[in-house]
């Protein structure tokens, strides 16, 4: 029925995906959107498949979102918070994974605080690995759900002005979004204090501009993506305490500089009064909760693509 598409080995990052692959995932996610909130419905495309969610770093929304997506598709799932497992007993990452692989899961969804940890494992293990965020490198499913959310509001990504604001240097969300948006021809403005905005970020992909000034970033924007202040990854303060919100916090008056129908996004969890004022977070322009919802449909599309024996497409369905 559906022609079997090229089956990817896993999902490690957005950078190595091509545009057609991303397009296919986003279309399939669109098909899953009506199902994502129907908690009584279970598809059976992944019936009999075992997925292990291995989270070496605390996560609520991403882990829960993956779990729901897996169950909606009929897979069996096991979630492991690795801080509490044998890792704390000194077991190496490779040994932990080998132990899990011996239990024959069909895929591992993994979050890890070290950049490249899933890439390292993918080289040594014969099992699809889905990156649920690696250190300060990439968070591919977040960028996919962000793109899905934008496309729910706009016909296309091409030519859109997207401002990404905050701690870019330490943000895996920013890196994945930059790669994805650039592949689709968006104009990207990255904005943050100098120590969180290394100039080499401008070389990540075509179509990127850097600025240290919030108003400059927001002027004429179609999309504003705010990033969480990642205190746990910052090794030194980027600026005097208290100044961050003053210069890089998004407030309601900023939105007047943007396009009238600008949307405000945030990967969560939000720190009200840090990177985002409460009135912006709760405003009509905020699509933060839509992002959370789309997390499920996008992850369903990703899991199906990697694990299903027959890969559907949005059009065929």
């Amino acid at each position: 029925m559906n022609p079997p598409a090229r089956k990817p080995a896993g999902l490690l990052d957005i950078e190595s995906l091509d545009r057609a692959e991303i397009q296919a995932i986003l279309e399939r996610a669109h098909f899953f959107q009506p199902i994502q909130n129907e908690s009584f419905r279970r598809l059976d495309v992944l019936r009999g498949k075992l997925i292990v969610n291995l989270f070496f770093e605390a996560s609520t929304r991403t882990r829960v979102s993956f779990e729901i997506a897996e169950r909606r598709l009929g897979a069996d799932t096991v979630s492991i918070a690795a801080q509490a497992s044998s890792v704390t007993k000194g077991e190496s990452l490779v040994d932990t994974l080998n132990t899990l692989v011996a239990m024959r899961p069909n895929a591992i969804v993994m979050r890890h605080s070290a950049s490249g940890a899933p890439h390292f494992l993918a080289r040594h293990l014969q099992i699809p690995i889905i990156n649920a965020g690696d250190g300060t490198h990439e968070h591919p499913t977040q960028a996919l759900l962000d793109a899905r959310t934008i496309l729910d509001q706009r016909p296309s990504l091409e030519g859109l002005r997207v401002a990404i604001i905050g701690d870019i240097a330490h943000s895996r969300v920013a890196r994945s979004n930059v790669h994805l948006l650039s592949k689709f021809g968006a104009e990207i403005v990255l904005c943050g204090p100098p120590s969180l905005l290394p100039k080499e970020l401008g070389l990540l992909a075509p179509g990127i501009r850097l600025t240290n000034h919030m108003t400059d970033a927001i002027r004429g924007a179609d999309v504003i993506m705010m990033l969480r202040v990642q205190l746990e990854r910052q090794h030194e303060a980027p600026m005097a305490s208290g100044e961050y919100f003053r210069y890089y916090g998004l407030r309601l008056e900023h939105l007047e500089l943007a396009k009238p129908d600008v949307i405000v996004m945030h990967p969560g969890p939000i720190n009200r009064g840090q990177e985002l004022s409460s009135d912006v977070a709760d405003s009509q322009r905020s699509v933060i909760l839509n992002q959370v919802e789309n997390g499920i449909s996008v992850r369903m599309a990703v899991l199906e693509r990697i694990l299903s024996d027959e890969v559907g497409t949005g059009a065929a369905a």
Binding site: E15, S92, L93, V94, H112, A114, S115, G116, A117, H119, F120, R123, H124, D134, G135, T136, H137, E138, A169, R172, R175, P198, E200, L201, L203, L204, H235
Partner: protein
Amino acid sequence: MSSILIRNGRVIDPASGGDAVADVLVRDGHIESVGRGILPEDGLAEYDATGAIVAPGFIDMHVHLREPGIEHAETIETGARAAAAGGFTSICCMPNTKPVNDCATVTSYILQRAREVAAVNVFAIGAITKGSLGEELAAIGSMRDAGIVAISDDGRPVMNARVMRRAMELAAALGIPVIDHCEDLNLSAGGDMHEGRESVRLGLRGIPAASEDVMVARDLLLAELTGAHYHVAHMSTTHSAEMVAFAKARGLKVSCEVTPHHFAITDEEVVTYDSNYKMKPPLRCAHDVDAIIKAIAGGVVDAIATDHAPHAGDEKMQEFERCPFGITGLETAIGLTLSELVHPGHITVGRMVELFTTGPAGILRLDRGTLAPGAPADITIFDTETEWTYDVQQSFSKSRNSPFSGRRFRGGPLATIVRGKIVWKKE
């Protein structure tokens, strides 16, 4: 058997300026004569070096042998065997063992152990400070008496400029060089690779070139202040090379070495998150690699040294940011130098021999690196054309952390002779 006649090779001896096809006669562990048509003798072993280059034994002035204390990664015996297989007849081991080589007892242990088990000559480098902690000077005088040829806190550079000054003053009086691994630990803190486009792309913390540059600048000023012989280990940046050239032009006693990996690979050629590409200083960007090659070609660089840094497999099989720094290098140094410097025409094979012989011997005042009659018969025989592939699984080292496994080389070592004895020969 420590007598041998090496026949018909191209004998390159930078110390005497010789470069011609000749025979080399070794008797009782010493060079007896070099010349054409030396007659064979009954019972005298022979090596036919036709088509090959016969050079003074190569010296690697920067290796880590991990003994005492870290023998699961390397021992003096295995490291020396890897050196022999790489064409080296002498190696100088850095003091970062457990315990640190910061007193005469450890120095004597290493040298005694080397005499018992090492296939090649082993020279020891002592620590600058006790435990290489950067605070209190080590027992430099008694280590000198026990045989060290230089001091260095390699890998844990002395951050306190006052301590470095005192060390340089003492070293100057003792007549030994101070070797510094140049890295400002505050600027490099937490870094895993060269800071630049690739570190930003991969989400890895960067080690800026400036972390090396500021230490080279500091040390050069201290070298001028103290009159010490100062040596920059594994120089890797454009500005370091410029500053060393400037200091030499000012007449300071300054020298420097580079590693093969720093002239052979850029940060963009790193296989993503493969810890076999993780070392300090990190692989730099293309313009630094170009500057280093120019510094070699232009005579600023005095020696090629490998910074052979074995790590056991499980230490390198981790998340990139957790892996220790360093790669092995003894067995690939000649191949890389030929393929990256000689064959592309950056340097002549004669200059290459200098960088491995008179260069390091001069820095460390070793009675090696020459084929003069009476000298110890340490000889490296290599060729520049035979193609071969490096397989790290066949390495003589105890460790396997090389990025060059599977790499094809044109030219490499053929035989290694130490004190007249063939300690390694290509099969």
